[in-house]
Symmetry: D2
Subunit: 479 residues, 4 copies
């Protein structure tokens, strides 16, 4: 496995075309915004080397018979699924932002499951290709991003009813490989990943075969352009002298980009689906099943732990930790957070091998969708409760730079002290601003898919006929 240092070295080889705020980014290792992604991903490499975290951050790969970073592991059991949950919680607790590895991990597992099924039912050899690819990334301990969300354009229209490039698709097929075109949005951390795993993001239909495509592509491949998000938090980071004054000093907010595929060539050995529209639903749905567990009931639970910890700290700082209404709000935060956690645990521990014989374990489809659905709503409530406890200062606080401004520092120290000095209170207040007055509500809502997609999956999963029978039987109704 790579050390953090080796990861950073490896990045220097990459030459992605990255743009941010209208300008080219010379070095993603140096730009203050893109650096947060690099640092977060390096931390994951570091944690995998740390004996304290070994049990969670690494796994044993039966494919290469070696210890690997768990982010590259194919789930062999429900215990693996539970560890997957624990890993997401842990990294969220440590980073306070995206670990940038979840979609990649979950996409690899979806591929492991679906390519197996495709080969079995269609006689293709995608799984073999995929396993070769998998061994290679495991051996080389490469960071993989995962990607499903197309540009989409006008959503009332199918792909071919509008600009055909609004969904990634094959524009050319040759002996050596395929050429793809399109764009992906919301790509978390892909600028600093070695590899991108691309899956179809919706169910395509007969006649839309060119859109049914899954593949892997290396960072910086010819034709790829990365255009970064630009948010107020990014602006603040770009223009601060001291990142200690930021809400999450080192790791910042989740950074994403649009990834443009301008006729990118993919050799056949990296193509894992090409035209099999009837399996597109399996692809996104199995990815979603995993990702809604790891996102809704794990990653966000780690964030929730930070928010609860921050709320309690601030309550103590302000001298209100014993007020009954504050205590009730803390309890409410814990209830929400642990409900999400419980859903993820149920998803993991009731997981099943799918398809049978594949050796790949997937979380329970009902509980993983419910984890994410509860999370979307619950996270806004966590934000509101945290924002309640911290007080209005979370949005009205002066800059921590004032602490060094000779004209104002005495005032600030005097009037922003509470049961602790002003410095601590301000630091924790800024930390909380990041959670309760920024990007998290919307980000959490849409991460792993908008709530309506979870609702529909739940409807597809529930067995209403069985429940109807139970009710009729007890009511004494015979059909």
């Amino acid at each position: 496995m790579k050390t953090a240092q080796e990861y950073l070295e490896s990045l220097k080889q990459l030459k992605p075309k990255v743009y941010l705020n209208g300008e080219k980014v010379d070095s993603i290792l140096k730009n203050p915004v893109t650096k947060t992604v690099v640092d977060a991903m390096a931390k994951i490499y570091e944690m995998a080397q740390d004996p304290k975290y070994e049990n969670i951050m690494t796994a044993y790969s039966p494919y290469i018979n070696e210890k690997i970073n768990r982010c590259l592991h194919i789930f062999q059991s429900v215990q693996d699924l539970e560890k997957r949950v624990e890993m997401a919680i842990l990294t969220s607790q440590v980073l306070g932002t995206c670990n940038y590895r979840c979609p990649g991990c979950d996409a690899l597992n979806a591929l492991a499951s679906v390519t197996y099924e495709m080969d079995k039912k269609l006689g293709t050899n995608y799984n073999k290709r995929f396993v070769e690819y998998l061994k290679w990334v495991q051996k080389n301990d490469l960071a993989c991003s995962g990607s499903l969300t197309d540009a989409k354009g006008d959503r009332s229209k199918r792909p071919k009813e509008q600009d055909p490039d609004m969904y990634i698709h094959v524009v050319e097929k040759g002996d050596d490989g395929i050429v793809v075109r399109g764009a992906r949005v919301h790509q978390s951390g892909s600028i600093a990943a070695h590899e991108h795993i691309i899956l179809p993001g919706i169910t395509f239909r007969k006649g839309e075969e060119e859109y049914a495509v899954a593949f892997a592509v290396p960072n910086g491949t010819k034709g790829l352009t990365y255009i970064c998000q630009y948010t107020p938090e990014d602006a603040e980071r770009l223009h601060t002298e001291d990142t200690y004054h930021l809400g999450n000093p080192i790791y910042g907010v989740r950074e994403t980009c649009m990834m443009i595929f301008d006729d990118v060539f993919i050799p056949w050995e990296r193509v894992f689906m090409c035209g099999e529209v009837e399996f597109t639903r399996h692809m996104w749905s199995r990815f979603a099943r995993i990702h809604r567990m790891s996102c809704g009931g794990a990653c966000k639970v780690g964030f929730g732990d930070l928010m609860i910890g921050a709320a309690q700290t601030m309550a103590e700082y302000l001298g209100v930790a014993e007020a009954y209404h504050i205590r009730e709000k803390i309890i409410e935060m814990v209830k929400i957070n642990e409900t999400l956690h419980a859903c993820a645990l149920a998803a993991a521990l009731k997981g099943t091998e799918e398809p049978e014989g594949s050796g790949v374990y997937l979380p329970d489809r009902m509980y993983s969708n419910i984890a994410k659905l509860n999370c979307a709503d619950g996270f806004w409530k966590l934000m509101a409760l945290l924002g309640d406890i911290v007080g209005g200062l979370a949005v009205t606080m002066p800059s921590e730079k004032e602490l060094k401004n000779p004209d104002t520092s005495e005032y600030i120290k005097k009037y922003l002290k509470a049961a602790v000095p002003a410095e601590k209170r301000m630091r924790m207040t800024k930390f909380i601003q990041n959670w309760s007055a920024g990007l998290h509500g919307v980000g959490t809502w849409h991460g792993a898919g908008s709530t309506q997609t979870q609702r529909l999956e739940i409807y597809r999963t529930v067995d209403l006929e069985e429940k109807k029978e139970l009710a009729k039987k007890l009511a004494g109704i015979k059909d």
Copy 2:
């Protein structure tokens, strides 16, 4: 194990003093209201004999090395806890009301855990006594009720600040045993149980030793009086000619009673705690931990399945099953129900041996409390959603007797038909009335303890210090 018939026979030996609606009940097997309890409990015996349910309804007892009814089983593993969840769901689905065995089962397990710990720490021999007692009930396959809720009186006062009998307590101690006095409320099905398991229901303090008492007492013991609840649903059942016209025709609503202990003698071999106030919290808290899993995340999930099944059936009867807002309401019901289920599964599958060495597995304390807390709120929402779909007829429907009234039957058949004949629609509507316009909201809220008790247990369980450390570390605050 007893057959249902043997259970019914055994009841004939019992002579409990039972009162209902101001009158003495001659035979609990014949009175239409008490009979529902008997029939439900008989069904549990029947299900334990049914090969179809064997895996869920029976277990292997290491105490007597025999197959036993799972309601008498001491949990040996997390798998046992999961089966406990499945059993509660199953019986709820089949009975549509209380199975009347959960509190007894959960009280036996609490005793198994706490008496072990007491003996270890205090050098008592309660556990030995308990195990002897347990073997006897397992051998004889006896139905045990469980009991924790005292009369309480004025809740702003401690037991000794008011009529001292408001909490069950020891009024006399002798060589052969103790004499207890007090009353228990909300006793589900105890009239038809062979044995009653009595635990302390709150944390008693130094100086309140006489209240720290746990014991078992047979049905109909001298000094015991049972005064049944009387609800509109009971009135309806007492005065109907045809139980087919009732919401839950055979098994009715949950029937409880007050159980009065008017100086009841308990021999020492049936006393499992006597004066150890420092273990009263363990007793109710471990009982609650089990019961909040089996009640909040299992029993009610089985009810929820019936409600979802009824909602979907009714939607189809009315021709609205395809309306998007109906479908969304069904999804919402499933989401709520499966969230509770997930919490119970997490509680079971993350259960632990407690205390170590005891061989007794208890559910995770956080998740079981959260299961119940979510259930309290969620069940009212299920009721509202079901009540929405069924329409106003759930509260305005004429009696099904009109179907046989020559003056009205043609009108009823004509005007209450929908996509199905009026008979079916009326039957299902009445079934739904039972769920959405009756006793369930309040009953579910308070069953296994009111929500504030769960909230406090959550607060006692959560590790806020750990979360504070995580937040401070990321914010860069050093203490």
Copy 3:
């Protein structure tokens, strides 16, 4: 205006064919269930004579230049609308059940508004007819019920796609009048009203002209049959010796019936719409606009006051009124209730003359729909909060008859006492059972129309174009 006694006398003239629980009701004044309707309606007559209530319960009619019962008043101003709200709150507070006059009042107002518009636009003379009819009911101080809800049958089908009688319609037109057939469900108190006001309940379309019919019909007209609801609460009342033991001793629960129209003749002077499908939307929509204010934001607010009063009383009885979580729940109940109240006040005080020149004031369409929509959800929450505070005894309490049972009365008195004697606690507990463990949730949800109808009316009412312009302007977007 009639006295209560005169009202009761007048009822003796009526000979409606009424059925309850499969049997004919000989006298609605004597049957314990139907008597609650009679007593409630008599109370309204009594209150209108009471100087204490004069300001609220009576109004001055410009049609007959006399003081009249406000239930028969056509709103002349926003002050009248506000009094309408106050009247509904007051009668709910006094009766604890339906006053059985709201739909009639609101239907008369809808007719006053829509017939005026029809005459103006179509040259009909419905309004003249209506005013003559109105004067007659005002002069004679008659109790009018109002009716909009048809049997409907299979809701996926239009009226003519199924049994055509599932919606009331004209089956014959003659020189003297029309003959109508169909059935109405959920008819609150119509058995004891002198007159029934029938409006179309949905929007009918071209080709469905026979369904576009509004008229008035006297109680007991040939062809009319009333089939009463039958609920557990009705069963309890039919079979109690002492109504003091019931939740609402005198006035009981809301009693409704199905009203069958088996070819009922209506003379032309009582027909207020006949074939004008394009005005059917106006008819139900304006009725709904009034009724959703008086139901959602007034009637239920009076109930809410009783529930809050009961909750606080019970909290004091149990000695927990000072517990912070109880106080917070009381506050939550008040917040919910006064939010509904505020919506009704906004609906009333922002009311407008509609159509202009008619002299009829209608509540604001947005706020009245919002009042009801908030109420549907809010009332379930009130029930849950009340049910929380009262404790499990609300569903497990023995009969108050035990207080006179020599075998049990001492036990009951001893063990159900709290900070007050058992008698008071039991009385209040039974009162609360009526509110939190019975028919109210479903009844309130569907009264004045199910929530989806309010949602659609809100969508029809809101001016999205205006809001889009505001947003675009500020964002700097030019179309």
Copy 4:
């Protein structure tokens, strides 16, 4: 009345000491952040001159017998209160941020009411002083800010138990006036107001007389220092070249500051309370009563209109406006927003003269507190619903600068187009980011006081005794 230009000119006379991000602000008219405050306040002057808004933005002052800006008006009637609501909605719709005049307006009205009562009960002459002051600000059309929130420090301690300066207090009293010390936080727009109105923010007790102080102080008075908030949004604005790329291009986010009172001299004619601790509750409570109406049910309703308009616009841009779940979300947003509006209207239209004889009308205390309480929760829901509809791009969108970047502009235009060109979609997405992914949730929660303060005011306002009587009477309980 001043024109906007005259207002801007007048600002040049002011020399406030203002700090932002650790640096001195040379000119509040030029600094990009402080300029948004100036521009918003200038817009209020402009609107007051605009005949289109005259009816809402101006009023007739009986004090100076002239037309004045409504922000300086003392409410003479419930109609004035309703106009107050309309004004707040309008300015929010136009500015999309704080109008910076509400607290000042509401503080003047609180002073008008309380000083009248103090003079009457205590024989002081505060009201006379206040009226003279009021005439002067009305005559000169001065912008007044209002202020109640002290630094507070450790909230578990009373003012004298900690650094005594944590609450503003009198440190010296002389013949000419008083000297005050302390600091105020969350001061919206005070940097650009001519006058600051300072009221006590909590209830002070006997022995804390020096804290019971109300007064007016001109901008830039000796001893005053303003330290501005610094948020990510401020950073973004400070460092953008083109404000068109910001969420609210011209008016930005609500800008506040801390206002330090370092021994500021206040002449007696500007002192309106000094030592009367028994009236401190009246002061903050009446201010709150007004401000919770204008904030919770008006200002935020105008924001809500923008959010609904933005949601609908975006739904159309994306081609999903007809999707049922989108429509339902729009309806839900309208329901929430109009519920707040209804509460404010009820507060206004049920307002009363207080105290009698004062000529000052205050909103109903119950409804104004309920308006704010519902708003706190409702606004987070509006944010979530808007964030749902806009999609993840609200937090992952690249900068609009990319539209001019030759390397990326074609990609951006191609892949971010939807049913409209990318420019429009991006503009509206950025506008929505401002609402759903920024400061509004926490700001709205705490503006006009945190929710617990509203809850307590509701508890103080409700008449529980009356409700208990109603319940007992109907239950048949005699005390």
